[in-house]
């Protein structure tokens, strides 16, 4: 994978770059602010972009805005956004920014789980949606009305779906059969008035959109 990294903290930026290289990915550019990120993407046309939310010059949400702008320009460009905070607002803005291709919103802490982090990046690059479990928990906690119809197990499955897990992965996590997972998903989608869909990540997006707008 050819990756562009945008992160203003030097140690973290170099750390991510070193980590990705170790797993055999190519870091084509590692930059420290949003304009440099835009330039690097134009120049290198990477497979995936990793960006921090907060970057110079304003130390506000330049990284997120850059990610949204990048996806508006090229909806097929996968972007993984890293944040220090569990902000469903930012996650929602990112997820709403453009349909289709992979998008991810992870807490920065997750970088420490090196293998999981690299795996999440690969998933985003391959077009899946990855949302931090904490953000999912927050989203699930807020709007209870439609979700009260779900059983505890279905809610658990929904949470794992929202994290971008496949049916097989969910089955492993919950130590149930894949058929049982499929049954839960079918049931919860029906309860949430969402038509069944073959595409995993569309399903996740639909669920998230439903939770957000309530």
């Amino acid at each position: 994978m050819r990756v562009v990294i945008a992160e203003d903290g030097l140690i973290v930026r170099e750390g991510i770059a070193g980590m990705l290289r170790r797993f055999g990915h190519e870091v084509v550019a590692a930059v420290g602010d949003a304009p440099a990120l835009m330039a690097a993407v134009t120049e290198h046309e990477p497979d995936v972009v990793v960006t921090d939310v907060r970057m110079p010059p304003g130390f506000s949400d330049e990284g997120l805005q850059a990610a949204i702008a990048l996806r508006a320009a090229d909806p097929s460009l996968p972007v993984l956004v890293l944040s220090q905070y569990v902000e469903q607002t930012y996650a929602a803005e990112l997820l709403d920014s453009a349909p289709a291709a992979g998008v991810g919103y992870l807490l920065k802490d997750r970088i420490g789980d090196v293998e999981e982090f690299v795996d999440a990046l690969v998933q985003v690059a391959s077009g899946r949606t990855v949302v931090d479990p904490d953000v999912v928990r927050q989203l699930l906690g807020r709007r209870r009305d439609p979700l009260q119809r779900l059983t505890a197990r279905e809610r658990e499955v929904l949470g794992l779906m929202a994290e971008g897990r496949s049916n097989a992965a969910i089955a492993r996590t919950l130590t149930v059969s894949e058929a049982a997972v499929a049954k839960h998903i079918g049931s919860l989608l029906a309860k949430l008035d969402l038509p069944p869909d073959a595409d995993d990540h569309r399903r996740v997006r639909a669920v998230l959109a439903y939770l957000r707008t309530g």
């Binding site: 750390g15 991510i16 070193g18 980590m19 506000s60 220090q84």
Partner: protein, 412 residues
Amino acid sequence: MAARNALEALTMRPTRFLVSSWPWRSLAYLTGGALFGFATIFVVAGLLVTGVALSIVLIGLAAYLATLLAGVVVGRLERWRMRLIDRDVLPDPHRRPPRPGLRAWLLFRLREQSTWRELGYTIVSAAALCWMDAAVVTVTIFVPTAFLFAPLYIDDRPLSVTLPMTLVAPLAFVIAAYPVTAWAGARAAMARAILAPRSNDTDAKLVEVTRSRARLVDAFEVERRRIERDLHDGAQQRLVALSMQLGMARLEVPRGSPADTALTGAQALAREALAELRELIRGVHPKVLTDRGLAAAVTDAAGHAPVPVDLDLRLDARLPATIEVAAYFVVVEALANLAKHSAATRASVAAAVHGDRLHVDVRDNGRGGADPSRGTGLIGLADRVAAVDGTVALSSPPGGPTLVHVEIPCGS
């Protein structure tokens, strides 16, 4: 309890009152009032005559001006005299002129309301009060004295009539102490009512206090943001890097080896530190509030709440930062309180701008009985809201539900 002024002294036990200094002070006050009043009449009349006589050569105008400002002098002397029979010192209602110089002083004093009140007092004093002072003093001194010396000048009555009058005289003196003190007290109360500073004299000071409080809140806010920035750029970055290094190190050691266990433990600690730091920063200053405003920040806060929260946020435009921060922390504190104390299973937050006021309501379905005096949380918030001229109202009857209602003027 010691009497603080002449009127209070009247309520003392007679045995104590009569041997106290109050009657004598009252007498001195009234005597002074009479003399001072006559002197004022004399001076003011003189000034007016001078003014009329010399108005053709302009100096007369100065005399007129002096007449108008006579009240300032009278007021000052009256306030000073009042200490004789009133232990509560009457503050000067005048403010310091903004610039030095006679011209600035004149213009400033002429614009002050208290100057005109003092002039009014001077007129009342000259026209009535000093005459009444004189009358009271004369009567209370003259009548007992007349009784005392009755046998000396009453020739057409037998001694059996005039001598008892002499004997009654001390009693008359004693009784006279009461009207003297009463009139002195009443007169001082009148003077106090006219010469004391009014709230509109101090308005400028109040406005300044409010402004400085608002500045203080602003300064705190700037400082909180700086702390948030520093933590984010410093400790947080380093902890992320540490966690990442530990993760990388784990890749190099066999799974399940003692080194792996130690590294896993270290990484868990780093993760906990990050989580704690994140919570700390959220309490200091939530970034989403700066970036996205009150509605987004409240939405996120609701997501962190331990019970489901229904939101009804009608906030289209951004509000001034201090108002957003105050409202935000009220919501956070209210949600935290209901989690701790109310045993609620559900809460709701509503926010909207009605006219030029921001209204925020936080409700829960808990057992109520919240008492702001038991925790400092809500009181601190009330202070914070008060600093932006807002109010916090709490309704929490036993049995619930609890409602926290906040209103802040937002001047839009």
